[in-house]
Structures are given as C-alpha cells and as structure tokens.
Point group: C2
C-alpha cells in the first residue's frame, strides 16, 4: 500500500470531513444504481454529493476504489442495523452440513439476483479483474472475509462428524473444497451462462459433497 516515494504529501486524515465522506458514498451508490457503473463519473459523484472533485481525488485513487469503499460501508451499515455489532456473519451449524450449505448458497443466490447488490458488486468484480491493485483490495476486504466463514464451517464439520456417512474425508483441503462450492456459483453469476436458481445451489452442494461418480 505505502508508496516508496510518495509523490505528494499524504493528506491529514485527522482533518478529514466525515460529512463529505458519507455524502460521497451515498452519491456513488445512487449514481451507480441509476445510470450503471460505466456512466458513473467522478465529476457526477462530486456534483451529486455537493463536493469538490479534489476532495475525491485526494482520498481515492480511482472510481473503483470509491465504489469499493462505498459498498463496504453499505454492508457494514446494513449489518449493524441488523443487530450485529460486528459486520461479520456466521454460517449456521445445525450439525447437518449439507442443509447448512444449501441454506447459505441459496441466500447467496438471492443476494446475487437482487439488483441492489448485483449491479455494484458486479461492477466491482469486473473492475478488479482488470485492475490488479483494486482486485487485491476487493478480494482482501470483501471476498476473503466471506470465504473464511466457509472454511470455518467446514473445519467444524470435519472435527464434529467423526465417521458418519456424510463425514468429510481425511486430509481434505478445505480451501479447495470451498472453491468447489463457491466457484460454480460465481461462474454462473458472472458469465450469465444459465439462470442462477435455488435448484442450482442445491445441486452444487450435493455434487460437491458426494461427487459425480456413483457410490459403491
């Protein structure tokens, strides 16, 4: 993050205007929702927020960075409003791994089908795909915290399920396992090959857990 030879001096974050920051988040999300990401401009955000352009350029390096923080802020506010003090959810653990995973993936499908999330999330993902710096930030701050929850739930399943029929196999790489669940969802969502449904989420969970091959 820190630049070796910082071209200009770093701004003093202590003197930063909280009011402007919030106004910029709101304006950015509103504008993306109304005209889409491509037609959202920094000038437009500044005008809507009642803010000088320089105030945006001073604190963010790119349009994508603004939207990433705006989106993170939105998520935090929504989470705090929902009662949690920390903006971190958990994957339920009823003891039935298959059912729990299906519930979470179905919820994810619903979220991805909701335009309020789909539009900015999609724009961010696309921008991160092309801009490695933004992509790293996107992954680190938005994606990884979510993925970690899957790993934890799977770890719990591994220690709990001593040896039943649905027990996770020994030596399972939880990271790969997680991606087997999440990858197909993301694939269908991003590339729009086929509709993203609850049935699909269920099928992915079943196939990932029990494999494509017949059991003896």
């Amino acid at each position: 993050m820190a630049q070796s030879t910082d071209g200009g001096k770093a701004p003093d974050s202590a003197r930063r205007s909280e009011r402007s920051r919030r106004a910029i988040y709101d304006a950015a999300l509103t504008m993306v929702g109304e005209v889409g990401y491509a037609r959202t401009t920094i000038e437009g955000i500044a005008a809507r927020a009642g803010v000088g352009k320089q105030t945006i350029y001073r604190w963010w390096p790119s349009k994508g960075a603004v939207l990433l923080e705006a989106f993170l802020d939105l998520g935090e506010r929504a989470a705090r409003e929902a009662g949690a003090e920390e903006a971190v959810y958990e994957i339920p653990d009823t003891g039935d791994l298959e059912a729990d995973l299906k519930a979470v993936l179905r919820a994810t499908v619903d979220e991805l089908n909701n335009p309020a999330y789909d539009i900015p999330y999609r724009a961010l993902a696309a921008e991160g795909i092309v801009d490695p710096a933004l992509g790293a930030e996107f992954t680190r701050r938005l994606l990884e915290p979510q993925l970690r929850l899957y790993v934890e739930r799977l770890r719990a399943a591994r220690s709990a399920g001593a040896g039943g029929a649905g027990a996770l196999r020994d030596g399972l790489d939880l990271r790969v396992a997680l991606e087997l669940l999440v990858g197909p969802l993301a694939h269908r969502w991003l590339l729009r090959t086929l509709p993203l449904t609850h049935d699909y989420a269920d099928a992915v969970v079943e196939y990932a857990l029990y494999g494509m091959t017949a059991r003896s």
Copy 2:
C-alpha cells in the same frame, strides 16, 4: 441483435475490405498487449491499423466487440495452423476420465497463465460481465463451444463406464458437473485469490469426481 428500426442503413458487407479487417484485428491485439485494455482506444487502433475511425465504428458497436472478434480470429488462425481444418478441439478419451480431465484442466491452467491469452481474455471477460450484450456474445461464441466439449466427454464417460468404481452416477446433470470442474478454475483465475497451478487442477478434478465426503 437485429434492431427493429435500424437507425442507419446497414453497410454492405460484400464490399467490406478484408485488408482493413485484418489490420484492425492485429492492431487491436498488439495494442492490448502493449498498453493493456484500459488504455487501448479506438482512435489508437485506427491509427495503428492505418484505418479511418469510421471504418471501425461502421462494423463494430464497441471496443469490446472489436477485441472479441480479434481474439476469435486469433484462435481460429492458431487452430488452423495447428492442422485442424475446423477450429474445434476435442477432449481426449483414453477411457480414463480422471486422467483426461486432469490433462485438459492442466492445459487450461497453462493457457490462463500465459499473458498472451490472459490479458485479452481477462479484459473480454471483465467487459462482458458489465455489458450484457457483449457478455452474451462472448459466452455464445467463445465460452460455450469450449464448455460443450466437456459435456460431450462426460456423456461419453457415462455411456462407456457401465458400472465401475469411477462410473458417473445415474441421472447426473452434465451441465452442473461441468461447472463443478470449470467454475473453481475460473474463480481463482478471475479473482486471483490464490495461484493457479497444476496441483490445483488435479485437486479440483478429484474432489469433483469423488466428493468431499469420505467413501464407505
């Protein structure tokens, strides 16, 4: 595709200059390779190709569309050069589905790690994610033909493997199965969460075939 009331008259494709078309493909791919997709402009492509801007605007609706066709053309030329008359590959069928899938996914990993393919392919995917029209074209012309090969190979495995240990289960949805293989690869490639390696490809195939849970 077809506009109901076509604003301007459609250009006469019979009189189209093949020479310009190729020059534009070359210039587009070169420029993307040199300065990246974001800094590639239509004006720049026209200048490099020695072509008027109007010639590009006449035949393509967007920068992404130009690059998509340039990329398709590149693939076709490479395939033809490699001996095939048709630009369609096949997934090998040695009878050992697991080995065949690993070979193909490893080859895919190598391709995705090759900057000559990675940069334009990534740019196209990102553009398609945000632009539904281009995304549909991207999926239809570039992605689906590749995915169909997986489905065919899996179908062959299902009819061949009558009942061995590695036989595909009855009623398997081949489309979901395919995405279980390809989704995780695409996920890691696009989002750059972790390095894309042969080991990962192998693991994905094993997990997808045999599942995350222990076998009795």
